[in-house]
């Protein structure tokens, strides 16, 4: 049975569940099916004849147009994940495919793009992720769970919060989470790195200045404490705050007012302050380099963020999270980490904490062509020496040890799911239970 020759092309395209539109060489929409109307929220009549970028509002429309690439390069593109913005302001994730449209003589007539609404898939993914996510913080370790439990109460209070933790532990992420969970969430969140600016610049940045305060002050400029009214100011690297600004900050905390640079008039401020440092504030106070009264004012609620070394069990979860984000951003098909690569990460000390893990994976993402990230895709400093490589392999181990190791890896791959592990290893659940009991490294 052959395909009917006189079938109207529009009827076929109109019946497709995915959005389909075509454009001419001037980027005017020449066809827009019903599904496209449903996904974009735009009536068919209004879309026809309009420029495609005025209809689709996608993240690629301003300089990275997939359709343009296809039409100029003469090639098709499939399954690229992007988002579009509907007229109601909703951001809709879609997967697009594009191809050039040619006539029978091979002359370019325009282009065709199909797009699939990924909202449901994203919602399902998010539900799974939400089990181990709090705001944008990923982790299931005991250390983090304790913080997750108290974070909502801390956020709802108006108390000043001091975040302590090594570099890369996510202090700004926690500060943003506190802001988003607070009653000030609709106000601005302003982050200032106290260690990144020279003293005078930092003072004008925080407190603003009035016209004539210094040579170039040609007009009043509000500082962060004024601009963030009704919101939160995050002062990172508070341990680096110079002495004169410590006094001014103390006044903001005590009296909720300050004087802009060059002014004698007090300006009231309505901001919540979250401060963070990776330095030993107690030590700085003892050395006389940080004011004791300011320290006590800041130290109302203190959260000590755990290092990645203290929550190694989060490494697989964090790795998955970063790999998924990078894959979505870069459109690269990376499945995950190979066993050796994961094993190496689990043994690494991560002095740079989560930021270091993210950087390592970003580096690996560049070198890995696809599939699973291997040890050789990691930066040189992480590459194991020859003797370490031997240790990673199975040589020198007894049969029992190799079995234990295989069970441990299969359990890790299946995220602790025993039935899935049984299926992978081809053993019964009783055999697996006995193995788990026998193997000391499995901890039971």
């Amino acid at each position: 049975m052959s395909f009917p020759k006189d079938l109207p092309c529009e009827a076929v395209l109109g019946s497709i569940a995915d959005g389909v539109f075509t454009v001419d060489l001037e980027w005017n929409i020449t066809f827009f099916n019903e599904a496209a109307s449903r996904i974009t929220g735009l009536p068919h009549d209004e879309a026809l004849g309009s420029k495609c970028w005025d209809v689709l509002h996608s993240s690629l429309c301003d300089g990275q147009c997939a359709l343009r690439k296809c039409m100029e390069g003469g090639e098709s593109l499939a399954g690229k994940s992007i988002f579009i913005v509907r007229p109601d302001g909703a951001k809709v994730p879609v997967s697009i495919s594009a191809a050039p449209l040619l006539d029978r003589q091979g002359r370019l007539l325009g282009g065709v793009e199909t797009f699939r609404d990924l909202t449901d898939i994203h919602l399902m993914r998010r539900k799974v992720k939400d089990l181990y996510c709090f705001e944008d913080i990923v982790g299931k370790s005991q250390a983090l769970r304790k913080i997750f439990q108290i974070l909502p109460q801390i956020s709802r209070s108006e108390a000043t919060v001091l975040l302590l933790g090594e570099s890369g532990t996510g202090k700004e992420l926690f500060a943003r989470a506190i802001h988003h969970l607070s009653n000030r969430k609709s106000g601005p969140f302003m982050a200032v790195n106290c260690g990144a600016l020279p003293d005078t610049l930092l003072e004008s940045e925080l407190f603003g200045y009035v016209k004539g305060a210094f040579t170039d002050a040609k007009q009043n400029r509000p500082g962060r404490f004024q601009a963030a009214a009704g919101g939160t100011v995050f002062l990172d690297e508070i341990g680096d705050l110079p002495g004169n600004l410590q006094v001014k900050l103390l006044r903001v905390l005590q009296e909720r007012s300050f004087e802009p640079l060059g002014s004698v008039k007090s300006v009231p401020t309505d901001v919540r302050i979250i401060a963070a440092t990776n330095r030993d504030l107690d030590g700085l106070v003892a050395e006389g380099r940080f004011r004791q009264d300011l320290f006590y004012r800041l130290n109302v609620v203190t959260l000590r963020l755990p290092t990645l070394r203290e929550r190694r069990e989060d490494i697989p979860l964090l790795s998955d999270h970063f790999i998924q984000s990078m894959a979505a951003e870069q459109g690269k098909e990376i499945e995950g980490l190979s066993e050796d690569a994961m094993s190496l990460l689990m043994r690494h000390d991560f002095p740079g904490n989560v930021r270091e893990l993210e950087n390592i994976l970003e580096y690996a993402f560049i070198l890995c062509p696809g599939g699973f990230i291997q040890v050789e895709h990691f930066p040189e400093r992480l590459q194991p020496q020859a003797e370490d490589r031997e240790e990673l392999s199975e040589s020198g181990l007894s049969l029992e040890q190799i079995k234990c190791r295989a069970v441990a890896r299969a359990l890790r791959r299946n995220k602790g799911a025993r039935m899935a592990t049984c299926r992978e290893l081809g053993v019964s659940k009783d055999t697996l239970r006995r193995m788990i009991e026998r193997c000391p490294e499995l901890g039971e």
């Binding site: 009536p43 309009s50 689709l56 509002h57 996608s58 007229p87 302001g89 601005p188 302003m190």
Partner: protein, 162 residues
Amino acid sequence: MKIGPKPGPSGPWKTHMLICLACYEDRLASVFESAPELRLFKTGEQGPVLAGRMSLPPGEPVDRVSALVACGVQLLICGAVCGCTRRMLENSGLIIHPWVRGGVDEVLAAFERGALDKLSMPGCRNRPGQGRGRCARQGRGGGGLGQVRNAAAIETDNHIGE
């Protein structure tokens, strides 16, 4: 800085303010969050004058909002914008005129005439009474002139307490 409409019969463009157009090449960018360039224009007696350009990599909308606030922008004209970014912009005190399409010159001319609604993106025309976050205007009138007056009023109000 005292900002407000000057008296006299000379029209709305006698108001001094800083407006921003989220652009891609010589047209308004399709989406504010991915607009590669923000162009700043100073308005006044001579009409809009280019006051600066900011090239921004695609990133967190909060960074874009902070950049606009830091530059002292009072009004933003852009294409599509997500509801959450729009709320963030409005909460920062900016007046926003979203869901506009067209070339930069065309948009500035329409703004000068108070006729930005004529450049509404498809799907945003003739939709009176749409709620917050919807592409329709939020009861601020026909765009352009009304927005300028609102901006001036807000700016003037801000200075009352000083």
